[in-house]
Amino acid sequence: MSLRAVTAAASAAATRGNGDHHADDHGGVMTPTLYHQFEDVEQQNESYLVGMWTFLVTEIMFFGALFMAYSIYRTAYPATFLDAHKFLSIPLGTVNTLALLTSSFTMVMAVNANQHKKKWSLINWLGVTILLSCVFLGIKGIEYTTKIHEGLYPGSFNYARANTMYLEHHDGKAGHEAKGIYPYFPSVQELATGYSLNRITPEDPRAVGVEQTPAGPFTSYQGAPSDVEYWSKRAQLFFSIYFAMTGLHAVHIIIGILMMGTLILLALKNHPYITQDYMPTEMIGLYWHFVDIVWIFLFPLMYLIS
């Protein structure tokens, strides 16, 4: 989604936000429910903030362990990582990053709208955010399917086959300098007919053996089949970490989408959480920005190894 589209959506949202004359709109005093254990709303809100940040610290450590494993293995096997990352598509990664950054922006706009009690603008901004995160998930899904079609899913990695297929779709060039559409998107009927799966099987002579192995991404490792096999193993390490981290991140995105959907429902029902309070939106916003930050680090580490 381009910047122009975002701003368009934003302006649309704004106009509609101003347009509606809802009862509890236009400022007015917010009187959130005060729970019995708190003295006043201020204490309650600050408790929410501190609690959310404490939770985010645990999330940081949660992902941090994976980042640690990643950096240790990358320093251990730089060549492997350099080669394996060529199976990831920079354009798609960039679009995804764009989508997440934009969704962060729309999220703060949503919080802002909630604070000023603009119900419809809140709903619109949340809607845009959900839309963007769905775009992210969709692209992520395409990437996963591509990996699986290329035989790069964990457990059964077949890099000889991956090489060969890869070249067929990239006119003999390896990596990002390949011309044409990258990565290979299987068309609907291709997916239906299992096109790329029955196209080249691991038994295919092109897929195994030294002489037949064309110069693919693993171009510097021409050698015996066992050699390619070895590289499959090493690159499995990269893709293990890739799937682990992006998978965990995707799970967080899904949770975020669910929570934002709940917010929209609450808003539609004029629930006091929305009409009289903005902390719920604020909390989910914090969570969402954290997910964004994780991706900000994942993108250069996974896609842009040079």
Binding site: E42, V50, L101, Q222
Partner: protein, 183 residues
């Protein structure tokens, strides 16, 4: 002793303790007491644009091999990470409006990252092993750029260079076949 404590940790009159003690971070409250200060929409927009620019920098950096200019191969990764950290700081400060909140929130925002640094003490082991994992301790650089393979003077078919290196030619399968001995 308590007076000094009262200054840093909140006073006897403030039930909430920290958040109320310094009174820090409670800015203008347009409607009522429930607002913690938030930046304006303008700031959001600026931050967003800055993030987009930085994203451009990150991607552009990938295609420029800085190690041509700086004699250290890790420079690309370093810069990329610095850019990422700046991006993260933008998001934390402006989007997650830490700067509008109490010192305590600042602390918590920083804590996780500090602990990640502690955790990276693992490298203390991995960088000094006698029988290390795939690399040797005296290895000059961790990040791999530029061509690997052979000098031109070697007479037999060289293995093709890495993509990203100046001369990249896809190798015809036959040649590739020759490059490896028959077993």
């Amino acid at each position: 002793m308590n007076n000094t404590m009262a200054v840093t940790f909140g006073t006897a009159r403030n039930p909430g303790g920290d958040g109320h003690g310094g009174g820090s971070g409670h800015g203008k409250r347009p409607h009522d007491g429930t607002f913690i200060q938030h930046p304006t929409v303008g700031l959001y927009g600026i931050t967003y644009l800055a993030l987009l620019v930085l994203l451009g920098v990150t991607v552009g950096l990938y295609y420029i091999d800085l190690s041509k200019f700086v004699p250290w191969h890790g420079i690309n990764l370093l810069i990329a990470m610095v850019v990422a950290v700046v991006k993260a700081l933008f998001v934390i400060r402006n989007f997650m409006n830490v700067q509008g909140s109490t010192k305590l929130v600042w602390l918590w925002a920083a804590l996780g990252f500090i602990w990640l640094v502690l955790m990276s003490g693992m490298f203390l082991d991995y960088r000094t092993r006698t029988n290390p994992l795939g690399w040797q301790p005296e290895r000059p650089n961790m990040i791999q750029t530029g061509p690997r393979g052979v000098e031109p003077h070697v007479e037999y078919q060289p293995a093709p260079a890495q993509p990203g290196s100046p001369a990249t030619a896809p190798v015809p399968p036959a040649a590739a076949g020759e490059a490896s001995p028959a077993h």
